[in-house]
Amino acid sequence: MKIIDNLKNGNLRDSGAEFWEKSSPTKRKILATSFIGVAALAPFMGFGLLDTPISDFGAVLVYPVGMFILMALGLNIVVGKSGLLDLGYVAFFAIGAYTMAILGTRTSLNTWEVMPIGIALAMIAGLILGLPALRLRGDYLAIVTLGFGEIVRISALNTREIGGPNGIANVPTPPSIGPIKFSLNDQKAYFWVVLIMILLTIWMIRRLSVRRAGRAWEAIRQDEDVAELMGVHTLKYKLWSFSLGAGIGGAAGVLYASKTLFIAPEMFTLNVSILILACVVFGGMGNIWGVVLGASILAYLPERIRFISDARLLVFGLALVITMNFRPDGLLPRKKREKIVANSSREVTS
């Protein structure tokens, strides 16, 4: 049994993918539906070992867990798929959040109406940053994006019209959808919205991965010069990657502002960018499920061990170092497997 062998070698990703490919379409539908069902029931699982002792479990699921997964998936398009090191990802999160806060407090637009605006603005910001910055490579790109993240935060800090260091308070919650109400005491509704956003993102990435865009990104990541010589319009696809990632960060920001109801520049520091990047690297760059797992653990763990207060970051850091030692490519690394049977015309997903 190849699956058993893979399990023995600790190659979980490959066995999962193989299992999925061998399943019939009906079986896949059942699997996917039940997986989504279990995820949707997550807010009811806050008891026993899973519960977070000090923070509210439902709230933890929305932020950090859900939001981190969403942002890590967005950053994964940039860092994992296309190999562009972006250290200023928080900027797009901030742009989304500020869009919501400004429009929510000064106009009658509600969260759902602001959402497309926030995404669009973040994507445009991605283009504006990307157009000059993406001509650079590697470390140089990292430095420019890092600078961009700081510029956005410091601009917010120094612009009195948007509250300066005081930020913006009284951001409205989303209007209820039918019987589902959004309230801070019971954050299930928020979680379901994040879950839908995560699922949409996963759908998008899986779709693009097996098509022209995914191949272009993959080629750029592996050898940008050759990619261009093989006809890949590298700048165009890098810009796409950048602005799609930015759009997802923006979407997360809009919802975040509408959940915390108060935002300030201090929430959008370099730390957030680094933490999201850590989720991607820890989980397994380029692999959706690795990133989801990595982000879940990195977001959840500090909340779970919050009772040891000051020591928790120490434990957290230690856990990171140890894991990366044993699994340097992340928990679930990207596709390694090859199909020996040369018959499949079915699309290989990654």
């Binding site: 865009a213 010069d225 890949v232």
Partner: protein, 258 residues
């Protein structure tokens, strides 16, 4: 008179004080195999790099179908019909052999990212066509059995041939092969020679850099010789073989002949 496909006109490249190519004039006719030979450092790969847009010409120009390629973006040049392989193999290692070739076929696709995302009928059709075309090319080169293997796990010889298949994936008018036989044993070289001829017979024009003389003499329609950035000969293989300057460039001047 045969039609000129690619032309180098007074092409000069300088890197600082070093002149890599010095006023090289060269015509490549449609449907021929032209071998470009010369000692190490003669400027052969530099020619490839100028033609594909990696280097910019200091002066002179490169013409494809009488249209100047100067200042064009690399991916645009590829789209116009020039494709190449690399002296040191540069495949996309983490992709399967098939994906490597499909990536190259993408250059002529009309549907972009959004088409792929929303699965428009054009995107799906092009995706299917690209896949079929890639399989066809792998078969043509004789490595279809490896289509689902990751490129970096393939045997050396297969990798070299996959480079050719990938280059053909862009459906070029002219194919540039940079030492395709490097590291091959005699049997593989014979096989490669047959493949290159097959490529020419399928309607592609081939510009070939190679060191193996028997291979070149066997398949080339014409041979051009570079030495220190200058073209010193350009003729039929049999003529070039006996050219005094070519022999000097390759073997040096014998002491008793001077």
């Amino acid at each position: 008179m045969k039609k000129t496909l690619l032309e180098l006109k007074d092409l000069t490249i300088k890197f600082g004080g070093v002149t890599a190519l010095n006023e090289v004039n060269l015509k490549i006719y449609e449907g021929e195999i032209l071998a470009l030979i010369g000692p190490n450092g003669a400027g052969k790969t530099t020619v490839f790099n100028v033609v594909t847009g990696v280097y910019k010409a200091t002066s002179g120009e490169v013409l494809l179908n009488d249209k100047s390629l100067n200042g064009m973006k690399r991916h645009h040049i590829t789209k116009l019909g020039i494709s190449r392989t690399f002296q040191n193999i540069r495949l996309f290692g983490d992709m399967t052999a098939l994906e490597n070739v499909i990536t190259a076929t993408d250059v002529h696709k009309k549907s972009g990212l959004l088409g792929g995302l929303f699965g428009t009928s054009r995107a799906r059709r092009e995706e299917k066509e690209g896949r079929e075309k890639a399989h066809e090319l792998l078969k043509f080169i004789g490595i279809d059995e490896y289509s689902d293997r990751l490129a970096r796990n393939l045997p050396y010889g297969v990798q070299r041939r996959l480079e050719i298949a990938r280059a053909l994936g862009t459906n070029p008018q002219i194919l540039l092969l940079d030492e395709p036989a490097a590291g091959f044993n005699p049997a593989e070289k014979v096989e490669l020679a047959a493949t290159i001829k097959k490529i020419r017979d399928a309607g592609f024009t081939v510009l070939l850099i190679e060191h193996d003389m028997s291979l070149i003499m066997g398949i080339s329609d014409r041979v051009a010789v570079l030495d220190f950035g200058q073209k010193i000969a350009d003729d039929l293989p049999s003529v070039v073989q006996n050219d005094k300057r070519v022999i000097e460039a390759y073997l040096g001047v014998p002491a008793d002949a001077s």
